[in-house]
């Protein structure tokens, strides 16, 4: 085994042969997650006739979309070596504010704009506190999590915000708003999934094809090195938080448009953990500098398929949380353990 490992490294840097290319693909962190995902799917396909149906797969697609959209944002934040714990509160506040504006008779574009602006501002506040404010982002966003949740509770007085025919929203505004959350593109693909795919594509281009993306990795790899090479570290990090805030707001609005009701004490509580878990399973590192959009998408899928599969196979509900936790530990742990052994050898 050791021999093969040396011969593999020995061949490197010469011409890129086919086998070398395959090996490189296999080496990628995403490959492990992808294979785990495929095996899970094959297993579920064997044990549950309901799993591999178009309807169920589209259901999974929809169920993961809101977490997925936020996980794309979280990938940026984590790579830049920060964290955002306030996403669930931004999600609740933006969605509920949009709903209340619609009920108050605001036109759809205005309600959406203000909802998204709330997310952007919250993200900017997180970014400023974590950079110029000198607070660790863990603390800054932990504080913001409570502040924003409190504002949402005050704003709604703890009452549910419900958008429906009897809430006084104009019928065409209502149907347009519902289309965003409940509609299906070409009558097949849930709109939430369409948003997730679009956000993923834009996120992928931004992270891997632009100067900004390069800077995010550089900042997360090493603040100092990035600064020395002329990268504006603070601006880059703040922008990552703003993207996160925007995407959390988008998810929150889509959630309200889907359900179509939200409650400040409940909506989005605890989602930050799923969001962070998805990004981490996909290979994003809490110590910065590492992570990809593809990895995050796979991480989101793992969580979504697990949740769905455990219900389809009639598993006791209490297993779900334990199993998802185990998968997080193993996904990250196996990568670390084996890579350190590799380094030692």
């Amino acid at each position: 085994m050791a021999q093969q490992a040396t011969s593999a490294t020995g061949q490197r840097s010469t011409g890129v042969t086919m086998s070398e290319r395959i090996k490189r693909v296999l080496r990628a962190r995403e490959t492990g997650v992808l294979i785990a995902l495929l095996l899970m799917c094959i297993f579920l396909w064997q044990v549950s006739p309901a799993f591999l149906t178009v309807r169920n797969l589209l259901n999974i697609g929809r169920q993961i979309s809101l977490i997925g959209i936020m996980a794309i944002g979280m990938t940026f934040v984590l790579i830049s070596r920060e964290i955002d714990l306030s996403v669930g509160s931004i999600y609740a506040l933006s969605g509920l504010a949009t709903g209340m504006l619609l009920i108050a008779g605001a036109p759809l574009w205005l309600a959406l704009l203000i909802g998204l602006l709330i997310g952007v501002s919250a993200g900017a506040a997180n970014g400023l506190l974590s950079t110029y404010g000198l607070l660790p982002s863990f603390i800054a966003t932990l504080g913001m999590m409570s502040v924003l949740r409190g504002i949402a509770l005050l704003m709604t007085n703890g009452q549910p915000v419900t958008i429906n025919e009897s809430s006084g929203v104009a019928p065409d505004t209502l149907s347009a708003f519902f289309f965003i959350g409940q509609g299906r593109l070409l009558d097949v693909i849930p709109m939430q999934l369409v948003f997730f795919i679009a956000v993923s594509l834009i996120g992928w281009i931004l992270l891997s094809k632009t100067v900004f993306g390069f800077r995010v990795y550089a900042v997360g790899g090493s603040d100092k090195a990035a600064r020395v090479s002329g990268i504006k570290v603070y601006q880059t990090k703040i922008l990552a938080f703003v993207i996160m805030g925007f995407l959390a707001a988008l998810s929150g609005i889509l959630s309200l448009a889907f359900l179509p009701s939200g409650q400040a004490g409940r909506t989005g509580v605890g989602v930050e953990l799923d969001v962070i878990a998805a990004a981490v399973i996909g290979g994003a590192s809490l110590s910065g500098g590492e992570g990809t959009i593809l990895g995050t998408i796979l991480g989101v899928l793992i969580i979504g398929v697990l949740r769905n599969g455990l219900v389809l196979t009639g598993v006791s509900p209490f297993w779900q949380e334990a199993i998802i936790g185990l998968v997080i530990i193993l996904a990250v742990g196996l990568d670390k353990w084996t890579s350190s052994r590799r380094r030692a050898a």
Partner: protein, 353 residues
């Protein structure tokens, strides 16, 4: 290289094994088997004697409180709810405020944001420290709050429970719905609507919570009276709204034979109704749930939810204060059953105000 391959293999194996292990244990969610108070099930009559006995028993009013009552100063009463940020809280608060106005006392509605036992306890201790003549408590957790309630009682501070009882404690009396009875009544309504035939699922936000266990025990007792009703599973939906809907979606797809769904609480009730509405299952899946959220009422009006059980929350808040005031004035108090109201198409307009 080989190492990496092994990582992949191990990761996959573990993920599949996790599913396998879980798959083998199948169904039987904890609450079904939970030994939740079988003796309580038999007693549906108000337990007047028991409450009077407890009140007359070891309790002696703290001297400071007796003084305050005698002085005629307004009584300070705190009504602590286990989660002031949930849908139910505003209705309870309204009842508390109405009682305060009617009875001329200073009653305040307090409690933690998000069900949190430690926060609830800390706040109660602080309030008692600052001076309180009476406490009404809806426990976030029976076990966590019981010792605290007993400590207050021992110190001569009157404590009643409301909404969610704390049977483990020495509380003076309880105002609220008998949870097990309400679960029984709800299941009975569903079973009758199904003419005693069909496959049923039960949904709940938190299958391990005491209130849920009590309601589920009652519901399963009612379903057991109908041999044609088959309870397939209990779905634990979690409390986040998107999570709730996803759990309902998955459960319905996993159990295509379902003709009836019983929600044990406020919040998976509208999720079931929405699911029926969006998937054109009206007439095929009958939904019965709890509480009077605006969405729930709307779905009842449009025929997607057959019935919902009302808990009369305003009355619970009102009675909590009323009991304490009565007790402080030296009158005997007894448990108050705030009752079970069935909301369906015939009377939904009264609730839609």
């Amino acid at each position: 290289m080989k190492q990496r391959m092994r990582t992949i293999a191990v990761l996959c194996a573990v993920a599949v094994m996790a599913l396998l292990v879980a798959g083998c244990t199948t169904v039987a969610p904890a609450p079904a088997a939970a030994p939740a108070a079988p003796e309580a099930a038999a007693t549906t009559a108000p337990t007047e004697e028991a409450a009077a006995e407890a009140a007359a028993g070891e309790f002696t009013l703290a001297p400071a409180i007796a003084e305050r009552v005698a002085s005629g100063q307004p009584l300070r009463i705190y009504v602590s709810y286990h989660d002031v940020s949930n849908e139910f809280a505003p209705f309870l608060k309204a009842g508390v405020e109405k009682a305060a106005a009617d009875l001329g006392v200073e009653a305040r509605f307090v409690g933690p944001v998000g069900a949190d036992a430690e926060q609830q306890i800390a706040e109660l201790e602080n309030l008692v420290e600052a001076g309180a003549e009476g406490l009404a408590i809806s426990s976030v957790s029976t076990d966590a709050l019981a010792p605290v309630i007993n400590r207050f009682i021992a110190a001569g501070i009157p404590v009643v429970t409301y909404n969610t009882d704390n049977p483990e404690s020495n509380r003076l009396a309880f105002a609220g719905q008998d949870l097990e009875q309400s679960g029984y009544e709800a299941a009975k309504v569903l079973a009758e609507l199904l003419s005693g035939q069909g496959d049923v699922i039960i949904t709940t936000l938190d299958a391990a919570a005491q209130w849920s266990i009590d309601r589920e025990t009652g519901a399963r007792r009612a379903f057991a009276e109908y041999p044609g009703i088959n309870v397939l599973t209990t779905v634990n939906t979690g409390t986040e709204p998107q999570e709730i809907y996803a759990a309902v979606e998955n459960a319905m797809l996993a159990n295509p034979s379902v003709t009836g769904a019983l929600s044990l609480e406020c919040c998976s009730t509208p999720a079931l109704g929405e699911y029926v509405k969006r998937n054109g299952l009206q007439g095929q899946v009958t939904v019965v749930g709890f509480d009077e959220l605006p969405t729930t009422l709307d779905l009842i009006k449009n025929g997607f939810i057959a019935a919902s059980i009302s808990q009369a929350p305003e009355r619970q808040g009102y009675e909590a204060v009323r009991m304490l005031v009565d007790f402080l004035k030296g009158n005997p108090i007894a448990d108050v059953d705030t009752g079970v109201g069935v909301i369906d198409a015939s009377n939904v307009d009264e609730y839609l105000k």
